[in-house]
Symmetry: C2
Subunit: 335 residues, 2 copies
């Protein structure tokens, strides 16, 4: 931060689902703002968006738009990040980028503040990357266990909300439900198949080994965030007709033996993650529990019936909050 | 079968979701029926239900209702099966029971016709059990691979349709979607939490080890059907807001090395299961693909990135058809 006065923060992609949540997080958390700039495409320029009790006018995103900006929160897709983040950094801003554009760049730290906050210090490009949403939520459950028992491998199946595709994903689910209820025809636009009353085992594009990019993010980003280049991860990412919380079913294998009670104790007093795990009492987390909430919830912690030194567990978190906007604002708070 | 003439078939639970589909399967498959009896609770007695071009009157289920019945298809819950299946067997009928009441009974064969048809021959109690729906659909994908490569263990996460809770599960999802759309309040009745726009990691009751009964069925029934008492299975069963096809994300470990192309070839020419697996061409199975269809679909077959000699794969199947009614009618056809 070049200044000790309250920083000038810019949000790039201010009109999107994550951009909207970034505004909400800044306001709710009383982030010490000097000035707020909202940047978006020319189409949205001139719109006035609420911030607390005030309104801020959206300006067009240009290469010159970062004059005087201290922190630039990017959430407008990888293409926009690749094109404009270097300009923001050159103008002196620290970029916190929510896209996948720079996540695997060796000179860009990839940060979950509860897990590797120290990584923000070393940012030669002036860019810090915000991890993939499913990865953040999974690691919120896995990192505390890793510190205690030594995580070796992860097998996961996800239940991912449509908010992961932005405002248009939410709209597509709403429109399909309305069309089906009214008996009208419709064509999927955002997703390759109908998402209402269906589940789709494809999130992001397929790669040559049969896994999707989303599934490999869990592997590659997980290794980088935990600093464990030997970690093994195999994942099946599935879109489900839920609006904005992701859930992940995980089998986690550790270097040491682990029992469920000891695993639950690992979360005692930690920020950002809570245990909800009393099956006999009907207590387990569901996506609706975390909708609009900051904390992730972990439950269904039990010994794997297949693998040694392994637990099966279930974690849920708000994709727009901890999976994106909140994590980015928390990184900004670290600066 | 005590007679070589066309059999007298009774459906117990004729007014339920599976009972209805049993009628449809008998009609569509031109099952050689001598007579059809529809049995249900006193409340439904007197109703007239369609069968092909005709109508059949529902009679009350009593212990005397099985006089002259050759095959009794039960789908009215475990309590009804326990109470009435012995009466049906004593009256000379062969019982095909869709509940979990007799599945683990050593004297009751547990049969998927494509996998272990020979087991129907040995039925000292006169009862044959129809397996759990998620188990049937998973094994339709796993059994052909087991025959070739020797299945050792299974890690699975399910995406289970509301039809698994019968007609009331379907109604609950419909009613919740309507209430949410209209902005009305509602109380969950069938499920412990809201199922619309949510997922619930509980199917059936919890047991002492933290797994649900449904999750343990995959283990215990899988071992019995495949005849592999050492098979290991660890499973997370999740209800999703889908109407009537289940999906299962599976990591399967084998005794021999297996590659995806060889795995796909295992399904060539087999009845009841088809490969839909061309990610580059956008081809993978979703629950809507199998809704109202007989065949299960398998796809997303790829090497596990965590375990040796292991594949990750994805299977979908109609819960009411192959998961219940169709499998029962196929067992009747074996007799």
């Amino acid at each position: 931060m070049p200044t000790t006065s309250a920083p000038h923060v810019a949000i790039v992609g201010a009109t999107g689902a994550v951009g909207e949540e970034m505004r909400a997080c800044l306001a709710e958390r009383r982030f010490p703002l000097g000035k707020l700039s909202l940047l978006a495409s020319a189409r949205s320029a001139g719109k006035r968006l609420a911030f607390g009790d005030a309104e801020v006018e959206v300006r067009e995103l240009t290469h010159d738009a970062f004059e005087g900006v201290d922190i630039a929160l990017f959430s407008a897709g990888g293409g926009i990040s690749k094109e404009f983040a270097p300009s923001a950094a050159a103008a002196g801003a620290t970029v916190i980028d929510n896209s996948s554009a720079f996540r695997m760049d060796e000179d860009v730290p990839l940060v979950v503040p509860e897990i590797n906050p120290e990584a923000v210090g070393d940012r030669p490009r002036g860019i810090i990357a915000n991890p993939n949403c499913t990865t953040i939520i999974s690691l919120m459950a896995l990192a505390p266990l890793h510190r205690r028992f030594g995580l070796r491998s992860v097998i996961a199946s996800s239940y991912q909300a449509v908010s992961g595709s932005g405002a248009q994903g939410i709209l597509e689910l709403e429109e399909q439900v309305a069309a089906i209820t009214a008996g009208r025809d419709f064509e999927p636009r955002v997703y390759p198949r109908q998402i209402a009353f269906n589940v789709i085992p494809q999130v992001d594009a397929f790669t040559a080994n049969g896994y999707t990019k989303e599934e490999l993010k869990m592997l590659n980003e997980g290794r980088k965030i935990l600093g464990e280049p030997e970690l093994k991860v195999s994942c099946t990412c599935v879109r489900v007709p839920v609006y904005r919380s992701h859930a992940v079913s995980i089998t986690a294998v550790f270097g040491e033996d682990v029992d469920p009670a000891a695993a639950r104790a690992c979360y005692d007093g930690l920020p950002g993650i809570r245990v909800k795990d009393d099956p006999a009492g009907g207590e387990f987390p569901v996506p609706l529990d975390t909708t609009g909430k900051d904390d992730c919830l972990v439950g269904r912690i039990r010994r794997s019936l297949v693998l040694d030194r392994a637990l099966d567990l279930w974690v849920v978190g708000d994709q727009v909050r901890k999976g994106a906007a909140l994590n980015a604002v928390q990184i900004a708070e670290l600066l």
